[in-house]
Amino acid sequence: MQLKRRDFIKISGITAAGSLIIPPFLNSCKTVRLSADAESYLNHFEVTTGTLQKVISAAMEKGADYADLFFEHSLNHSCALEDNQVNSAYSNISSGVGIRVLKGDQTGYAYSEDLSEEAMLKAARTASNIADSPGKVSVADVTEYTRPNYYAINGSWENTSIKDKIPFMKRMNDNIFAADNRVTRVNVYLNDKTSYILFYNSDGLLAWDYRPIILIAAVCIMEDKGNIENFYVTRSSRMGPNFLTNELVDELSAEVVERTSKLFDAVKPDAGEMEVVMGAGQSGILLHEAMGHAFEADFNRKNLSVFCDKMGQKIAEDFVTIVDDGTIPGNRGSLNFDDEGSPTEKTTLVSNGKLTSYLHDRISSAFYKVPSTGNGRRQSFRHIPMPRMRSTYMENGPHKKDEIIASVKKGIYVDYFSNGEVNIGQGDFTFFVKFGYLIENGKLTRPIKDINVIGNGPQALADIVMVADDKIIDNGGGMCGKNGQSVPVSMGMPTVKIRKLTVG
């Protein structure tokens, strides 16, 4: 297969530039004429709808209920600044097709990096072995998914030269060094990835997507009187090259310098249980760890989640509403369709304190007899899709940030985190605080750093006693791991108060 990537991008570029965000719907004409974009994606992977149907038929030949093909061609570039210079770069090209076969809730999976018909048929037959009652396969008519466009872009990352990225990275470096004479090391990283996706399934659904994603990160090291402190900031989006601006770079540089410099005064809070105020934005990590994973329907279907018998029940105060949204324009967690061809949406998980929905993929939605919420995601064509979060955040509540902080006699305020984890069955979760403040008698006092906070998901959700009206969706570079697969996500939150978590 030879690439026709530059010709192709023109077609796609024209479409993207003129796109508006429109709701997805299925084009169900019987004798469908494919759009020029769909044709170009078929050409890109050098396949025809006839080949796709043939491979699907091979995948279904042992009596499967369903099969799908996920073609991916990803181009990844990253470059790094160290010692004031952008002096290393990395790139990766990865392409292939993942073939999935379902029989009830059982999955057969194989992939091929070789996109010849022969190699694809071989992989399809391997995956087909999950079923064992050969039957007649009927070929479905092709219907084209009309996609929305949640990540309209101006030009492409794959055609952006490294020389156009370097000035922004150097500006970041220079800003940080200039801002504080205690700075001794700066590292800046820029990572972009462009994925061409073509999806086809045994229902005849044909979908295509062009997925950009960009991440910029800066690490700042300061030394003062023999003490060393480090801090980092990240920003990410599904935008095109107009993501990189001097304004963004200046904002991030100022942020990393300010936070690093305050760490020299940071103390460790007393260990034990206390009230915790979580600042607007990154604190959405609480939702991601304490409930988001436990709301993923595969864990519930398999009886593993601490929330599996709580659907429809009141699990939080009336003013708590939590959503998982795959439709925010330009957001890192957004997708025009999920990795199994289902439209994404804004899914309400907790509505006024009541658990209303899990996060579904195709298998779990069939099990629970509800429509998929468009949460079926995978790391790449080499991976089996499963329910994953997109952008998980809490809606605004009735309180004010100042009022929340003023209500705490002794506790902590936290708003920067590096990582978290959850144990699905017991419900225990953690998040690691990179920065925050002590709250003493209703006031923020000394900075705090490097502490783990641990709690229990259902308890923490019930213990959210105040929610402010200052929601921020954080655009940091969140990466979520589950069963060995990583996918990009984002999170958000207004300022909230939790009655009690263990700090240590």
Binding site: N87, N92, Q106, S418, N419, T430, N452, G504
Partner: protein, 438 residues
């Protein structure tokens, strides 16, 4: 691809890169085949076959460096890939420290036989693999009325790679791995505790195939209804299987990049005590049939057995060629092979039996360590011990401290290393450790 085909591809790419303007080039080609099977309760949940291959190239041109990889092996396409890579490298800033390793340090030949490949894994059929996983599941399934779910997993992989550099290195390696895992989830009054157990091996015949499901079940049941205890200083035993969690910030701080970027709490500590004198750790690349064994590392540097920490004194770092030059240090290897800890005489059960009051840590959840300062805090789960007996499970607690002082609280090494893992670490007993709970 067989080894000769990989070499032929690498030679062609190197030749093309040098012709296109590169001064030095390193190319590696790998492929990997694997099977993954999951059985849940009595049904196959998923069957997955993987077959992947990739080529990586590191390019040095005008003292500028970049590295690239692709899974598209068509020669014509690889040639244009290399040309574009060289072209884009020229936009970078020069970096005088970038070059291939000194050929003197390369592995040449005559190393010991490592015995890390089992050809028989290739001929196992699907029914055998499914049967193995099914037996693991059956050891737990239906064995207790509190069981909610039993999953078992089979995994195997057959890996092969070659590396060629333009200044004289040529080497190949191949490796197999096979693994069985059980995961059990049970009902309790306060939640759905779950636990896992696994066995892993290079050789199919040597793989422990029994006791995996039953162990996972036993471990899940004993975790039911945990209680949080008071914050304070405790004596703790960290179980061998999870002790690596406390080791990883130490390992991170030993690397050249952490030292150079001032994210290492072990800067300047070579030759000085960093832990209690009962701690001795060797990096040993030549253990026959061990999963981390190798003759050379990912730069081609010859692997040698060396002490990392000896009687509590830091002996050596993990330095690759690039950071070696930047730091003015001799490259040792930027990555670990097998890490072998010197063991003590008692099993963890014996340590528990003589413990007056303390905590046995059997799992970590989240947390992190600040590499620059050594401050750490991790979530834990385990068991509260009083007068030599396990009293109840504990959870929702943190262990915290500073890595520069924590390792001096190490009082005893267990005798229980897991010989099939590349990190051969026993259970360890510490005194005066900060735990936070109520």
């Amino acid at each position: 691809m067989d080894t000769n085909e990989k070499y032929a591809l690498a030679d062609d790419v190197i030749e093309h890169a040098l012709k296109s303007g590169a001064e030095q080039v390193s190319v590696s080609v790998y492929d990997n085949r694997s099977t993954e099977i999951e059985i849940r309760d009595q049904k196959i949940d998923s069957l997955k076959e993987s077959n992947q291959a990739s080529l990586s190239i590191s390019i040095y041109v005008d003292k500028k460096f970049s590295s690239h990889s692709t899974n598209r092996m068509n020669r014509e396409e690889l040639h244009s890939f290399v040309e574009e890579a060289i072209e884009s490298t020229r936009f970078l800033a020069a970096d005088e420290y970038r070059s291939l390793p000194d050929p003197e340090l390369y592995y040449k030949e005559g190393g010991p036989s490592l015995n890390v490949f089992d050809g028989s894994i290739d001929s196992l059929d699907a029914a055998t693999k499914i049967g193995l996983a099914r037996k693991v599941m059956e050891e737990a399934y239906g064995k207790d009325e509190r069981i909610l779910s039993v999953s078992s997993y089979y995994y195997d992989s057959i890996y092969g790679d070659i590396m060629v550099t333009s200044n004289g290195f040529r080497g190949s390696s191949s490796k197999t791995a096979i693994q069985l895992v059980a995961e059990v989830s049970v009902k309790s009054n306060t939640g759905r505790p779950n636990a896992y157990w696994y066995e892993t091996q290079v050789f199919f015949d040597k793989l422990k195939k029994e006791g995996i499901g039953s162990k996972a079940l036993e471990r899940a049941l004993r975790k039911s209804d945990p209680i949080k205890i008071n914050s304070g200083l405790y004596e703790v035993i960290v179980e061998n299987r999870v002790a690596v969690n406390l080791l990883s910030p130490v390992y991170d701080s030993l690397t050249g990049s952490s030292l150079y970027q001032k994210q290492s709490f072990l800067t300047g500590m070579q030759g000085k005590p960093v832990a209690s004198e009962i701690l001795t750790v060797f990096d040993d690349p030549h253990i026959p049939s061990a999963p981390g064994s190798r003759l050379f590392d990912n730069e081609g540097l010859k692997s040698v057995k060396r002490p990392i920490i000896e009687k509590g004194v830091l002996k050596d770092y993990y330095i690759d060629t690039y950071y070696g030059k930047k730091l003015g240090m001799k490259p040792t290897s930027g990555s670990s092979s097998n890490l072998v800890f010197e063991t003590g005489s008692r099993k963890p059960e014996e340590m528990i039996a003589s413990m007056k009051k303390g905590v046995l840590i059997t799992g970590f959840i989240g947390g992190n360590c600040n590499g620059s300062t050594g401050d750490f805090s991790y979530g834990i789960e385990g068991f509260y011990i009083e007068n030599g007996n396990i009293v109840h499970p504990v959870n929702e607690m943190n262990i915290s401290g500073n890595m520069t002082s924590f390792w001096f609280n190490l009082k005893e090494m267990g005798s229980d290393i897991r010989e099939d893992d590349s990190i051969r670490i026993p259970s360890m007993r510490f005194e005066g450790v900060q735990l936070s709970g109520i």
